[in-house]
Symmetry: C2
Subunit: 477 residues, 2 copies
Amino acid sequence: MTPLEDWLAYRAAATPERLALVAGGRRLTYRELEGRAQALASALRARGVAVGDLVAVLLPNGYRYALTVCALMRLRAVLVPLNTRLAAPEAAWQVGDCRPRLLIHDPACASVAAASAAAFPGLDLWEMADERAEPPEGRAEPVDADPLAVQAVVYTSGTTGRPKGAMLTYGNHWASAMASAINLGHHLDDRWLLVLPMFHVGGLAILLRGLIGGVPVFVHERFDAGAVSGALDADRITLVSLVADMLRRLLAARSGRFPAHVRVALLGGGPVPQPLLEEAAARGLPVVQSYGLTETASQVVALPPEEALSHLGASGRPLPGNRIRISADGEILVRGPSVMAGYFNRPEASAAALDRGWLHTGDIGEIDGGGMLRVLARRDDLIVRGGENVYPAEIESALAAHPAVIESGVAAVADPRWGQAPVAYVHARAPVAEDELLAFCRQRLAAYKVPSRIVFTGPLPRNAAGKLLRNALSAPA
Amino acid sequence: MTPLEDWLAYRAAATPERLALVAGGRRLTYRELEGRAQALASALRARGVAVGDLVAVLLPNGYRYALTVCALMRLRAVLVPLNTRLAAPEAAWQVGDCRPRLLIHDPACASVAAASAAAFPGLDLWEMADERAEPPEGRAEPVDADPLAVQAVVYTSGTTGRPKGAMLTYGNHWASAMASAINLGHHLDDRWLLVLPMFHVGGLAILLRGLIGGVPVFVHERFDAGAVSGALDADRITLVSLVADMLRRLLAARSGRFPAHVRVALLGGGPVPQPLLEEAAARGLPVVQSYGLTETASQVVALPPEEALSHLGASGRPLPGNRIRISADGEILVRGPSVMAGYFNRPEASAAALDRGWLHTGDIGEIDGGGMLRVLARRDDLIVRGGENVYPAEIESALAAHPAVIESGVAAVADPRWGQAPVAYVHARAPVAEDELLAFCRQRLAAYKVPSRIVFTGPLPRNAAGKLLRNALSAPA
């Protein structure tokens, strides 16, 4: 198998003067980024980090994060991104699961890091100072990577059970970037806006796509709808990845049409309410829906851009090189070159998830005659009411069309007669009666899909990636 | 290793209504092209062609050629492209070397085909009628291809010795198309013009790049400078591959600037005279020089587009995933995912050409401090004059700057004092004295590089791909 070169080293040799990264107030070319990454890699090596060592990273989006990813790839050490929102015991659990040699953390995460170090005495801590700090001098020469070598262990944001660390290889990322380029196009004047958390696969994949393709990545520390709206214009952004909630806030943050140079807003992270897609389309924002998981190194199914408007609500077809099928019990299975190598240190979970190359996603979906995937629900979110399958996303999409509804989330409650029943949690922008919303649903949904109750609530609970946390919905009921 | 899907089947499923192919007066979408290719594949299977069988093709560029390539991939039979200019004994030699099951030929090549059939009685002949003939009905379902499976055996146009069949795999083509897309960009509104012979790797690669990337390919039966010039405007061509002689004729065939939508003219096939590159640059034609061989599934080194003008005369840097180095005796070595699997039925030649993954190209070159390759000569073309290396391309480039010179070719003659000496064969557009050209060279070249003689001649001998045949230069002297 042909080895893959160090992507940043390739860029620094082939296109040294191109803009590579805009983050934390800095603008770096590939030559500059590589110089800094080399220096950081040298410092990490001096600290004992070697090929194959795991290094946990607890940093916010930004320059330090990007540099650390590049430096770890230079050493072929393995990145373990930790969610900066984790409570100390949660972080310690993940640290205990994978036992990294080093934990690089932001000063703001010092107490979380310290708790992990206390629990696991072998753990070295590196508090990485602010964005302006320069790494020490040094050179670390690039080496080729085996496509099967693990680049990152990314803990899945699964809502049930303990998180598992998906091992993503260099080959996974390469295949993912290629498939994305074929589907979305790869324009030499592209500029990616990175507002997803870099500790999730969606954000990490944008950074790697930029390095592989040689187009600049503009990193925002967090999603701020006004800042994103401004950047689309000021930074002449052509590509941005969002989840549905971010899209909703972006549409609310600006008025009128979007600039024509924004050629794709890639949408992942779960089902999207139809009215949101319609509004984006009406305002000239070319939303391309996609479907992917941590275990597939980001998007693995997406719409071709020319069908984005004619197939609102579908997730698309498998990207080149990938296959999908639906199992007998409705689960989406994925096979292809960006499917992970397995879960770190979990042979049984890996064997269960990867059945002869087919990844069991835990999501429920259907494929129409044209090969188009529609994701219906997370398997854990599926509501079975008297033998009928009820998909929360379908009810949420119906409610989103009501003018008083900002957003809604549907979860199951136990029902004495039907086993389960859906309850809708609604964040409203104006007073509206429960009866009115239920009547609105009855006009749009089969009777068995109409929620048994509406619960009015504030903004819905979401994880760092903007995904709705359905489990947390039942609490306020 | 993850299998690769049938590229046309993927396109027919993912982007069925996109324009796929314009050839022989037809315009076909991917859906239409796949329907026809399925039917042809069924007919070929009915004729006994099975997985892994070799099928020789002796057709001119066009619809039938493209369809046959797709049908053979559908069956995972192996394409053996034969040069339509071959004399009957030359074709028979290649047929005898690889022993295909079937030879598909144009009516115009009937006697060449018949001579091969007479020499090898097991050979089945299929005379494929004109471009308008429809294949019979039928369906052949697509199957995945192992990336290591051979897609084509392409005989090299080497100027010395017997041709050898380079085995190019699906993985070779995939890697080549990806690397090209990363370097040149992959715009969803791209349109490739295919004027190189499809029986050479340069033409075949364009067809496959189109299928993989989902952008249409416009096929011309042969290079005609006026037709190419017209197509750039009428078909809104964005990408075209040329060799130096075609570029020269294209520049002569039209005046003024080239349309801005032509974003890359990819130039391969050997060293290019500097004045030609300068004229193209001055007239707004973005020439991107490249270097590749049959054995590397087309370009494997190219300039990044932004450096095309600042590095006129260089061939560029290795495309992503590839490496180059120069051996102790000056030979260019290439390693990477598009390097062939070997020569068909030639274990010794394969072992000699592929030394631990490094392809010995037989070309002489140098790599500068910036990693930029400069191809100096075919090893067989190198002239050694009194211990000094003289590269024909350098003399040709100097002569091309003289206003009276249309083109020139330099070859070695035996020299009693220095062993070898260069002779320049010049095709002039106006009368010019030998002494004047020699003086012109003396101003531009070291004394040992100045030709010992100028021989005036007509158009220079070139092969079907437009490459200068230096061996044929000595004849008229």
